[in-house]
């Protein structure tokens, strides 16, 4: 067999948020990526969401920057509207066959102007909006689609169904319509494959008793996302479908297609409790008067910040929660209302009427991914989710093929994102020898020196088909531009962004010796990178470019006022020209990266991270505070769903201690750290001396610890122990464990209380796991679990089912009336108020097991001060963004994983550690980091070292420092400067000046108003 070098490319199947994260991580660490997406655009389900919990950030706003990065990435090839057919070969050397479906539109020619769709005569219910609005037969799924290429829906297109029409072909100025286009089969050489096929929402019609599809005012939660969205079918106005009236009362029914054995949907979908809570809150924000009621079984708020979110919804927003399963929805005769019957606690059944009912549908494995798994020989479980190694979430049954996102199991966005990173790390570790072999480094033509030249400005005014030209008189704008000072050339063009036009711009730059370019077209947020690149190719510095936004902020918002819209376009061009004449060439700068990592914490997460970096071929320093590696995992003997974390961590310790690329410091801690992303200098205290470490990135994996309760007689009575102590007993002395005839567990000890308002995530599942184990060693044991909500989210629900099947008894208590425990000699008496039965229950027990909370390590606070990294309200480290940057810190070069970030299972900690490495590799794999030239500069003659700038800077990028000659002045660390310019505003003398947004440049725009 040939021993050729592995292929430095990865094929990612699925362009939802998980696949996008994998693609970006991989492409940013030196590999080529093929991103295969079945739909015409990437974005997945997240693109259809309005807001996201628990921050209520706008979903598409958060995704926007990622989509833009994806679309412009030189090393990512997006194969949208395509499907993976087969993968042959072996890890490192696969051939992936992909069918590129015919869009009937040439992607090279289509510029996404949308004129075809505006005139297409065929209207089709829009699946993106859940069929609540219409789109045309030629369409993009949503306005920010990537790639922004139209597709003909052949099932509905008049030409494809009836053989005539061809209106789009006539209208397309770029001749992009290709009715005869055929599917194309391509073969991709790829080293690894990631399956991130995502999910399909449960089909609510399968629960006919809820009336979806029968009664118009019953909608699914995904329909409701679109109803809430300002970009949705009703522009964010909440209305019933039957008559468009604003509803007064809305009900949510939870677990539709989840936790439902009757239809084979046994698992919990993990996300519905929180999204329903979010939807109810947003509903209240839209229309304060709407009554919102959520019917639920258990409130599953197991993630970071979720319990606070839930309590806020209930206490501040007035969202009503009713703990009751709903068996059906009945229309109220002669009205558009719907009736729900429910039973709360031990009370008699009640009926209530609602104007609208939202079904919180679950997450199902995507049928096309299940089909793909079949073709690739990948094992899936009974529900169609991918079978993985119990401790390694991303490893499928076929080596070299990895999984991420909901195809592995139901999960929320941050978990999908971190798993996307984790799968990326697993692929790139496999291919590390081929790093850099297939990436494209764009050539950089020699740059013309324009210093001292007077401005020679070229202005290009775009029609954007009729998008702009239909409102604004573009030729008049171009003529006007010619009259402005410094303008040497002005013209109008059909599509400024088309490939042909880029050639034309370059030609004109050369011919007219232009040194500034203004394009009047669409928003710089999406198109500035394209035009800057054109300047670069023409030998002009890319910062000598300015966009005038005459589409989004003119033609589109003044469609009925062509006269004043044209005047406004002229004003915008004048402002842009005025600014452009003062633009200066800027250079992105680069600095060398120390290609070594520092990992703080030698538990399961830290060890996994260190080994994963070493597997990528880079040296690591691993620091552990205690004299021993392994952390908590050493006493996590077995995991629900399989796997033995304790045995696994022993293997990791042995590997780490003998790995040539890993240096381990035990009984050591970080004293101080200096420097910035790519180049840190850290001092460790170790064996009474100081060790200095140079490194490029820092991964924080300092872990957590079990809370030692000061209640329920813990520490006072020998028969009271924590869940972890009980696990030790079960494994190390099963014979003794079997002697306890009655065992009682109390959940939420130290969790979900005013001072610790968070869920510890693992305790419910641990209780199930240990109950089942006890039943195995002693089937006659009576096990009682005293709980508040059972939070066995995702497939962990099966453990709950199993425990119930084995006769474990469950009693629900409420925090206001916690159980009381009294010693009775060797045994204990427990009295509690059962919140379901609504009566007092007394029981005695031989053993009391407390599911004690997961707490951050005591040393976290001190370390956070040393590293200048933030902690959250509960004392865990705080990531850069709860949703889309769960593994990064806001400060560049720092990453986090494991219990340091929040409570989690062993396999989640492993996945996170790998994910953090994937994020870190985007820096560590570069010999040098290139940073944008838009940073603040300090004029030493004006700086008086007052320190105002330093106090303003959120990123510690500007500091008063002693410079040569003993003088003090503000100095900018370019690598940390984000270019916000806050220091400029704070500077009393004008010494701090942000390149590209200098006072004179901004004032030039203002003066040209």
């Amino acid at each position: 067999m040939r021993k050729a070098q592995k292929i430095g490319a990865v094929t990612v199947v699925g362009g939802g948020i998980s696949g996008i994260q994998s693609a970006l991580d991989i492409a940013n660490s030196g590999f080529k990526v093929y991103l295969v997406e079945e739909q015409p655009s990437v974005g997945g389900i997240m693109a259809r969401l309005d807001k996201t919990f628990p921050t209520n950030d706008c979903s598409s706003c958060m995704m926007g920057p990622k989509l833009v990065e994806l679309a412009n990435h030189p090393n990512i090839e997006i194969l949208a509207y395509s499907e993976l057919l087969d993968v042959k070969g072996e890890p490192g050397h696969f051939q992936a066959t992909v069918r590129k479906k015919a869009r009937a539109v040439d992607p090279e020619k289509c510029v996404g102007c949308g004129i075809c769709a505006s005139k297409c005569p065929t209207k089709v219910p829009d699946p993106f909006n859940g069929g609540l609005s219409e789109r045309r037969a030629i369409y993009v799924p949503f306005p920010q689609a990537v790639p922004l290429v139209y597709t003909i829906d052949k099932e509905h297109c008049r030409y494809f169904t009836k053989g005539k029409c061809r209106i789009c072909e006539k209208l397309c100025k770029n001749k992009a319509i290709r009715y005869d286009q055929e599917d194309e089969i391509v073969t991709l050489d790829t080293g690894a494959v990631i399956l991130a096929g995502g999910f399909e929402p449960f089909d609510a019609r399968r629960k006919a008793e809820y009336g979806y599809g029968l009664w118009p005012n019953v909608v699914t939660s995904l329909d409701y996302e679109r109803i809430l969205s300002a970009a949705g079918p009703f522009q964010g106005h909440i209305q019933r479908l039957s008559d468009g009236k604003t509803p007064d009362r809305i009900a949510w029914i939870q677990c539709v297609g989840s936790r439902d054995s009757s239809i084979g949907q046994d698992y919990c979908s993990s996300v519905c409790c929180m999204y329903a809570t979010k939807q109810a809150m947003i509903t209240k924000e839209h229309e304060r008067h709407i009554d919102t009621t959520i019917f639920f079984i258990d409130m599953r708020a197991q993630g970071k910040g979720f319990d606070r979110f839930y309590e806020r919804a209930r206490d501040e927003y007035g969202v009503r929660y009713v703990r009751s399963m709903i068996s059906r929805v009945v229309p109220v005769p002669e009205t558009d209302r719907l009736q729900i019957s429910y039973v709360e606690g031990s009370q008699s059944p009640k009926q209530e009427e609602f104007d609208m009912v939202v079904l919180s549908v679950g997450l199902c494995a995507h049928p096309s991914t299940i089909g793909l798994a079949g073709r690739l020989g990948i094992d899936v479980d009974a529900q169609g989710f991918c079978v993985t190694d119990p401790l390694d979430f991303v490893a499928t049954s076929r080596p070299g093929i990895f999984v991420s996102g909901v195809f592995q199991g139901p999960k929320d966005i941050p978990d999908s994102v971190q798993q996307g990173s984790s799968a990326a790390a697993a692929s790139t570790a496999l291919l590390s020898e081929a790093r850099g072999s297939l990436i494209h480094v764009p050539p950089r033509p020699e740059e013309k020196d324009v210093k001292g030249q007077k401005p020679r400005i070229g202005v290009f005014v775009c029609h954007c088909g009729i998008n702009i030209a239909g409102v604004v008189k573009v030729d008049e704008v171009a003529e006007y531009a010619m009259t402005l000072p410094g303008v040497e050339y002005a013209s109008n063009c059909m599509f400024a962004c088309s490939t042909d036009q880029q050639k034309e711009i370059k030609r004109v730059i050369e011919e007219k010796q232009l040194n500034r370019i203004v394009v009047a077209s669409c928003t710089p947020r999406t198109h500035e990178p394209l035009f800057r690149n054109t300047l670069r190719e023409a030998g002009l510095n890319p910062y000598l470019f300015e966009l005038a936004n005459i589409r989004e902020q003119d033609a589109w918002v003044h469609q009925n006022e062509p006269g004043s819209a044209t005047e406004k376009a002229k004003d915008l061009v004048r402002m842009a020209v005025s600014r452009s004449s003062l633009l200066e060439p800027l250079h992105d700068f680069s600095y060398e990266v120390v290609q070594r990592a520092l990992v703080i914490g030698g538990g399961l997460a830290g060890l996994t991270a260190a080994l994963s970096i070493a597997d990528q071929g880079f040296p690591v320093v691993l620091v552990e505070m205690t004299p021993e590696l392994g952390g908590n995992a050493r006493t996590v003997y077995y995991a629900q769903g399989g796997g033995k974390p304790a045995a696994h961590v022993e293997e990791l310790i042995a590997r780490a201690e003998s790995h040539p690329l890993i240096t381990v410091y035990k009984d050591a801690y970080v004293m101080s750290t200096m420097g910035s992303c790519g180049n840190f200098n850290t001092i460790l205290a170790w064996q009474g001396k100081h060790e200095e470490i140079q490194h490029g990135v820092t991964i924080v994996a300092t872990g957590g610890e079990e809370y030692k309760p000061d209640e329920y007689l813990y520490g006072q009575h020998p028969r009271v122990m924590t869940q972890r102590e009980f696990e030790s007993l079960l494994i190390n002395d099963p014979a003794r464990a079997a002697t306890f005839k009655k065992v009682t567990m109390i959940q939420c000890v130290g969790s979900r209380e005013p001072d610790n308002l968070y869920c510890s995530r693992i305790c419910c599942t641990s209780a199930m796991k240990n109950s089942i184990k006890l039943k195995e060693v002693n089937p006659g044991a009576q096990v009682s679990v005293l709980y508040r909500d059972i939070r066995t989210f995702g497939q962990r629900e099966m453990a709950y089912q199993e425990a119930r099947k084995r006769g474990v008894r469950f009693f629900r208590y409420e925090w206001e009336r916690k159980p009381e425990v009294k010693a009775d000699g060797d045994r204990l008496n427990i009295s509690m108020f059962d919140a379901n039965l609504e009566r007092q229950v007394d029981m005695d027990t031989d053993l009391l097991v407390l599911s004690a909370a997961v707490r951050p390590r005591a040393g976290c606070k001190q370390l956070s001060e040393v590293l200048r990294l933030p902690l959250d309200e509960d004392g865990f480290f705080l990531e850069a963004h709860l949703k889309l940057r769960p593994l990064d810190f806001a400060t560049a070069g720092y990453f986090l994983c494991g219990l340091a970030q929040g409570p989690k299972f062993a396999n989640e900690a492993i996945a996170q550690a790998r994910g953090a490495v994937s994020r870190a590799m985007t820096i560590l794999s570069q010999k040098e980091i290139v940073a944008e030239g838009v940073v603040t500069e300090v004029n030493p003659d004006l700086c008086r070292a007052c320190g105002e700038c330093e106090q303003t800077c959120l990123f510690a990028a500007i500091k008063v420092t002693e410079v040569e000659g003993g003088r003090k002045q503000a100095v900018v660390t370019q690598a940390l400067c984000t270019g916000c310019g806050a220091c400029n505003a704070a500077c009393p003398t004008g010494a701090a000046s942000l390149a590209h947004f200098r006072d004179k440049q901004v004032n030039a725009v203002i003066q040209a108003l």
Partner: protein, 67 residues
């Protein structure tokens, strides 16, 4: 002041939120009066008092900062 008075409004917008919002208004085809001129900054933290005063000096009747 006559009935036809149309104020000239200048808005300084943060690239990441308000400016993106203005773009989205365009995508959604929300119609608003033409007498507002938007100036994009990477962060509204960049704004100093002089910008605001200069805008008035340049003829603005109202200045908005959104970010």
């Amino acid at each position: 002041m006559s009935d036809t008075f149309e104020p000239k409004i200048v808005a300084f917008l943060c690239n990441w939120c308000a400016y993106a919002g203005a773009d989205l208004a365009g995508v959604a085809r929300m119609q608003y009066p033409t007498n507002v001129r938007l100036i994009r900054l990477m962060c509204t933290g960049r704004i100093n008092h002089a910008f605001l005063l200069n805008a008035f000096r340049a003829g603005a009747d109202g200045v908005m900062v959104s970010g």
